[in-house]
């Protein structure tokens, strides 16, 4: 196997130092879009791109995003896992007995997909730049009523028909709508749990760390934060705990109030 001497191992393009990646995935339409954007930043033709470097950039990017605790859709993580796998295939020489696709093949395929997406994007641009009807090209402004023999007096398209069908089936569904039951922490529950978790600790501890085990479930995260925060204000008022926040949007720190202090 000759995997060690291929294009994919060419010197990785240096990451553009002057360009700070926006640490946010909201602007991207999926992992492929993000990868294409990263590839574009290398400012070379897609055919000459280093897939290894690209994979590293993607992994670094996702890592950075997660450090900032920005939630990343599963798609991005699956791609990250796959790229990590690809990286391993590219860096480890392939055993002759190995039936799995070689790293080069996987990389070539990713490159193909990036090229294809870019080509479609360019095609869309070229389409929109054509002389379009109603923008640069015009139809007869004053059509004259000429009767062209048509088979139907009534006009309806397949789309109209399907839309009519779908919307009335959905209408039927809405009538049977039952609100989804969600777990909600009552303020009393939140107060009890908070007091139990803080215990007698007089150290400043971030609220999120106190609540770590409860915050793991995404479906309950909002109610856990909201209810405990509201309860904690009440506890402060009653002189049970103290709260501190160093900066705007910084972590909320909490501790048991020492009884001996006035």
């Amino acid at each position: 196997m000759t995997s060690a001497q291929t294009d994919w191992f060419d010197t990785p393009a240096p990451p553009p130092a002057d360009e700070v990646l926006h640490v946010d995935v909201d602007g991207y339409e999926g992992p492929l879009d993000l990868l294409l954007d990263l590839a574009r930043r290398q400012k070379v033709d897609l055919s000459g791109i280093s897939i290894l470097a690209l994979a590293e950039q993607y992994l670094a990017f996702i890592e950075k995003v997660r450090e900032r605790r920005i939630e990343v859709a599963a798609d991005y993580l699956v791609m990250a896992a796959w790229l990590a796998y690809l990286k391993s295939r590219l860096m480890v020489p392939q055993a002759a007995s190995d039936d799995e696709p070689s790293g080069e093949m996987l990389a070539a395929m990713l490159q193909f997909r990036l090229k294809r997406l870019e080509a479609m994007r360019e095609a869309a641009n070229r389409l929109m730049n054509r002389p379009r009807l109603g923008f640069q090209v015009y139809a007869r402004g004053m059509p004259e009523p000429i009767e062209i023999a048509r088979s139907a007096i009534w006009e309806a398209s397949l789309y109209d028909l399907l839309k009519a069908y779908s919307s009335q089936r959905e209408r039927g569904v809405v009538a049977e709508y039952a609100p989804k039951l969600r777990t909600v922490w009552s303020l009393q529950d939140a107060r009890d749990i908070l007091l139990r978790l803080i215990g007698d600790s007089v150290e400043w501890v971030p609220l999120d760390r106190i609540l770590a085990e409860y915050l793991a479930k995404p479906s309950e995260r909002a109610t856990v934060r909201a209810s405990t925060f509201a309860s904690s204000l009440e506890l402060v008022r009653q002189g049970e705990v103290e709260i501190r926040q160093g900066e705007t949007f910084g972590p909320l720190l909490m501790r048991r109030r020492r009884k001996d202090t006035p």
């Binding site: 006009e155 399907l162 089936r169």
Partner: protein, 218 residues
């Protein structure tokens, strides 16, 4: 020099030709002048264009102060005004038609059950008149209600080869026509494409004149 002048003239003619063609109302010479550059003699250009179109199927004619393209008068037989304009199908008719398409053979009661409102007899009549819906037979249940189905003309109009080409649940979701948040038991039937289903009888001979026993409805 003359060649150049001819080119300019040709270009000016093309411009007023396009302007007149695309305009939604008659244009006056003054409306067109700004498009032609300085010193253009619009009236002369219009006369020239009029002469070019004089023998064609479309003529350039004056309407008050304005100019407009109109079908040549001797071809007026081609024009038939407002008599048979195609009209969009009403929502009620579209809904009824789509239910018949998917749920056929369907009785009127079944159509109403899906729609949740009474279906006026006029709606079914209209769909039958349009040639898209037909009476198929009678359901073998008490009252022997008439069953409705779609016609060949229906397939033809909507560009379907067979009823099996109607998109199913997943397709409708995929096209964004149905939202994802639907109960799992929501079903979209496969239209029955055969001649008569086992629970259907052929139409009675007397049905052919009279679409359905007249009953009172709101």
């Amino acid at each position: 020099m003359e060649q150049e002048e001819g080119d300019v003239l040709r270009r000016q003619l093309r411009i007023i030709e396009a302007l007149l063609f695309a305009s939604t109302e008659p244009l006056r010479a003054a409306d067109m002048a700004p498009y032609l550059g300085e010193g253009a003699n619009v009236t002369k250009l219009l006369k020239a264009l009029q002469a070019e179109y004089a023998e064609r199927g479309v003529n350039l004619v004056r309407r008050g102060d304005g100019w407009v393209f109109r079908t040549a008068e001797d071809l007026g037989f081609l024009l038939r005004r407002e008599e048979h304009e195609t009209r969009p199908l009403s929502r009620a008719a579209l809904e009824t038609l789509s239910i018949i398409a998917y749920h056929q053979p369907a009785t009127r009661a079944e159509i109403e059950e899906v729609r949740g409102v009474a279906t006026g007899k006029g709606t079914l009549d209209l769909l039958m008149e349009a040639g898209w819906v037909r009476m198929r037979g009678r359901r073998r249940t008490p009252g022997r209600p008439v069953t409705y189905g779609t016609t060949e003309a229906f397939l033809d109009h909507f560009g379907l080869e067979t009823l099996g080409d109607l998109p199913g649940l997943e397709d409708l979701k995929g096209a964004g026509l149905l939202s994802g948040r639907l109960p799992a038991d929501l079903q979209i039937p496969l239209p029955f494409t055969g001649e008569l289903r086992e629970d259907e009888d052929p139409l009675d001979p007397s049905d052919l004149g009279d679409p359905e026993p007249v009953d009172e409805e709101s």
